[in-house]
């Protein structure tokens, strides 16, 4: 899943400005596969363990010192919509995002002014072990 230009992004107590996109990647941590005595093809496959990774990318406009740190467990929430209208606004939240890395990159623009990008990586945790760590709900109101 990927959301471009999400609004009202909060990570813990931080309100993150300038977020360009948030991506959520899912991958199998362990794959169970079985074959039979009847032929060469797998007869069973399941993913009993999976990992949900979150990447937040934002433009940084001015100096900052209050960045999250690896190991922090924070709630992530943001709003998104296909259009800027109030219709179909969705609220996406991750109850607990454990930060695994915060990186910054600075590059010089064509005008000579430096621009900075911050990338926050994390692993989303389930509240129960079976509930999806990412919840998406339709909300009323503006983005």
């Amino acid at each position: 899943m990927i959301w471009l230009n999400p609004a009202k992004v909060t990570l813990g107590a931080l309100a993150l400005e300038g977020v360009t996109h948030i991506a959520i990647d899912r991958e199998a941590e362990r794959l169970s596969e079985e074959w039979t005595d009847l032929g060469p093809f797998a007869a069973f496959a399941d993913v009993p363990e999976q990992r949900v990774r979150v990447l937040i990318v934002r433009r940084v406009a001015q100096s900052e010192t209050a960045a999250p740190r690896p190991g922090d467990a924070l709630a992530l929430s943001f709003r998104t919509s296909a259009t800027a209208s109030a219709a179909g606004v969705r609220s996406v939240s991750v109850a607990q995002l454990v930060v695994t890395g915060v990186e910054h990159a600075v590059s010089a623009g064509s005008s000579g002014a430096a621009s900075a990008t911050q990338r926050i990586r994390g692993v989303a945790l389930s509240t129960t072990g079976s509930a999806d760590p990412v919840t998406e709900t339709i909300v009323e109101g503006e983005v």
Binding site: S32, T36, D37, F44, D46, V47, P48, E49
Partner: protein, 124 residues
Amino acid sequence: MASTFAGLALFNSGPHRFVIRSAGRLVRAPFQTPLELPFTINEAVRELWIVQRGRLIAPTNAELMTLMDAVQARAELGQFGTLVDHHGKQWTSMTMLSFDPDDRIDRGRVCSVRYRVEYLRFGA
């Protein structure tokens, strides 16, 4: 076709495979003394040993436990039975010797557990 042991279809919730691990003659290792040439004692037919590996699968944890309990009960019973594989091959007078589930139950789309079962034909 479905496999059975002692007429029971205990394992057909998931894929499983059979292999003969040991068959043949039981012999004693070569003896040798200063006065005799080496010789081997031919004792008997070796006990037939069959290993089954597979996975029990159920939609819920409780149903998986029911499947595991049934296999465990059969393994603890120690009775003889005929083992029939997917191709209809039959091994008579087999005893389910052990049932060893894997070190974890997998809970993904379904609940499942890998296992290893050993069968032995005692004193064959």
